[in-house]
């Protein structure tokens, strides 16, 4: 417990988290500080490329672990299954209609890659290693949750869902972040440590600093989301935004133990299960479930769960993973 608290404290005073808090406060106090959209998108391309590449190099370095296939499959099952859990919780904890509940549930089955990136950087600063292929697991977890949510809506019998067409399916499977993550993972695997040596002063050394600026922007956006969307956050909904990551990470923990992952791998799988999408899934929901309320799922995922995971969740998941694996 003491260790957990000091870990949390250490995490909270890192430049990365403080940059996020700065952004959050700036927008809650309605400062006009803002990061241009193009710059934010460029930063996210950098982060995806770097994290994917490093994951691939690590796989090239340590050889493909026999558990890679199992881990990918587990990720897909988690992503497809967590929305059912989330949907159940939402029906119990909130008065959301089926459509809105399903849309929210989709976000919690899928993942937030930035939370994942922040998790790797917490592990790294504590010298805890993890499986390089967790990046591929992250990619695998992006999409299945969307299908589950659409199935939840369809099962409800409403004609509300525009449903899935082949164009949407292609958009989801080939959305930019999946392609970039998987692509750079493969490049890292192919070029290996030599490739990394060539570009490490671009993708390794400045990584944490870039993450600071990116999280500053995330804080600004989350704060704006909270300011404008706070009306939708009735107590039950708000509570869900904190309870669900705890539930999700527990399920992730069990899965990680089953798979026999390393301490770091388990912490990351917990992080992925706990995190909620705020890019790929909202876009898909606008197309497939246009009647669902976007400010509900965006505020919840970005304004509540993301900050929770970043500040309190990450150190918790790492500590629990360490305690249970003795790592």
């Amino acid at each position: 417990m003491d260790q957990l608290l000091s870990l949390a404290a250490e995490n909270l005073i890192s430049p990365i988290i403080l940059s996020f808090v700065l952004g959050l406060l700036a927008s809650l106090f309605r400062s006009d500080l803002s990061v241009p959209e193009a710059a934010a998108k460029a930063l996210s391309i950098y982060l995806l490329f770097a994290i994917g590449f490093k994951g691939g190099v690590s796989v090239a370095d340590h050889g493909i672990d026999g558990r890679l296939g199992a881990a990918l499959l587990a990720g897909i099952i988690l992503s497809a299954g967590l929305p059912m859990v989330a949907f159940g919780l939402l029906r119990v904890m909130t008065r959301l209609e089926r459509l809105d509940a399903a849309a929210v549930a989709a976000h919690y089955g899928s993942i937030s890659i930035v939370t994942f990136v922040a998790g790797t950087s917490v592990l790294e600063s504590q010298g805890i290693g993890s499986e390089g292929y967790m990046v591929a697991v992250a990619a695998a977890m992006e999409a299945p949750a969307i299908l589950s949510a659409l199935w939840l809506v369809a099962r409800g019998g409403g004609s509300d869902a525009r449903g899935m067409d082949s164009a949407l399916l292609r958009e989801i499977m080939l959305n930019g972040s999946i392609v970039l993550l998987v692509g750079s993972f493969l490049i890292g695997m192919i070029t290996g440590p030599e490739g990394l040596a060539e570009i490490s002063s671009f993708i390794v050394s400045p990584f944490k600093g870039v993450l600071c600026i990116f999280l500053l922007d995330m804080g600004l956006v989350a704060g704006r989301g909270l300011r404008e969307g706070s009306g939708v956050l009735r107590p039950g909904v708000l509570a869900f935004g904190v309870v669900m990551p705890l539930v999700g990470s527990t399920i992730g923990l069990g899965t990680g133990l089953l798979l026999g992952l390393s301490t770091g791998g388990i912490a990351l799988l917990m992080t992925l299960s706990a995190s909620a999408s705020y890019i790929a899934v909202p876009a898909a929901m606008r197309v497939a479930l246009p009647e669902a309320n976007p400010s509900l799922y965006l505020t919840l995922s970005l304004g509540v769960t993301f900050p929770f995971n970043l500040t309190l969740g990450l150190p918790l998941y790492v500590a629990v993973a360490q305690a249970l694996t003795g790592g």
Partner: protein
């Protein structure tokens, strides 16, 4: 200068729907249109602005289409099939163009 009557249809729509709208327009035989960026706005679904978006995904765009008056109805129908259930606004104006054969 000799001008000809035409209609100018402006559709403000979510960016995620852009490709579906232009596909519908193309399918309806409308191959001339222009897409303009939108910074923000306000409507029944609240207000938003680009700085508040995590990604372009949830922003909006404006699709402007100049069209011969007699083709207006077909175009509106095609557009509405896409726009109907989404947030957005469709407005129609008279305008004049110089080279009528192009529209």
């Amino acid at each position: 200068m000799q001008t000809h009557k035409a209609k100018r249809v402006a559709i403000i729509i979510e960016a995620v729907m852009e490709s579906r709208l232009t596909k519908a327009l193309n399918d309806a035989g409308v191959t001339g249109y222009t897409i303009l960026p939108v910074l923000g706005g306000s409507g029944r679904s609240g207000s938003w602005n680009r700085a508040g978006q995590v990604s372009r995904a949830s922003g909006m765009v404006q699709v402007v289409c100049i069209i011969r008056p007699d083709r207006l109805d077909k175009m509106l129908e095609a557009a509405f099939a896409v726009v109907e259930r989404h947030i957005g606004v469709v407005s129609i104006q008279d305008c004049e163009v110089v080279r009528a054969e192009r529209f």
